[in-house]
Symmetry: D2
Subunit: 92 residues, 4 copies
Amino acid sequence: MAKLSDEALTQTLKNLPEWKRQGDAISRTFSFKNYYETMAFVNAVAWLAHKADHHPDMEVGYNRCVVRYSTHDAGGVTTKDVEAAKAADALK
Amino acid sequence: MAKLSDEALTQTLKNLPEWKRQGDAISRTFSFKNYYETMAFVNAVAWLAHKADHHPDMEVGYNRCVVRYSTHDAGGVTTKDVEAAKAADALK
Amino acid sequence: MAKLSDEALTQTLKNLPEWKRQGDAISRTFSFKNYYETMAFVNAVAWLAHKADHHPDMEVGYNRCVVRYSTHDAGGVTTKDVEAAKAADALK
Amino acid sequence: MAKLSDEALTQTLKNLPEWKRQGDAISRTFSFKNYYETMAFVNAVAWLAHKADHHPDMEVGYNRCVVRYSTHDAGGVTTKDVEAAKAADALK
């Protein structure tokens, strides 16, 4: 799977307004009311990751979680990351 | 929210072939390869429960999980349970 | 690992006042304030299970979780179950 | 709760060889065999956090998790963080 060109990625992110480019990855910060809710969401994202065999890095804080997708083999963002981002959006 | 009549429930379950009636509830047994995968799914179902504020009972075993929805206030199965069942199906 | 005799188990359970015999297993019901807290505990018990490679059955409800240990190979309760019960107690 | 002095913290970390100072926090990187195991541990740490009402930031990767404790009110590392670090160590 080839990484998306800069142009293709810019175009794609127009439809993912909550996600932004961050180096070779795309990331979104999700907000929650407390650590319980944050962890519950982290686990839901992890389930998607297991299912798709595509695993985000996550930064977990008290009431927020940054989810970051990148396709390491491709050295950038692929359609696999975009699909994963959409699936994570659908959880919230 | 009123509970579904026997007839309505029977009809509804035709579209949820994995779910069966169990007293005042509907339940489905999900199968997994090991405890890790089972727990990951249990957490994903829990996320849906938090979001919908509608919480299933679950029986967790090594490689299976029984998910059971019922609307206690209505003393039976309501459309809320049917929606939750569909959402759980969509996770797998 | 051989299963504990009835006598040995009765003796052992004197030191585990929250646990009771349930057929070939020992079980304890843990209580929580809501589904978030219940699930958080369920996950902590699961971590112990992964670590010890000894996995309880659990019944998860809104504000309680029944944890049940048994050693299937031995057809009853062994010291492995007793150790697991102590470790679960230490979490709460 | 007052933050530990530089000297006290340096002394304390001698007994927590896996933890290192990182700005106003202490952190440890835990390693795992895959995402399932990583997430299971993350959940166990979260349980401790709920119980102690003291919540680490965590960075979750495929087979590692960075756990970071700091006491924001004190603007640094307190004995509360040290206790939390010891409890996390005990999980692994």
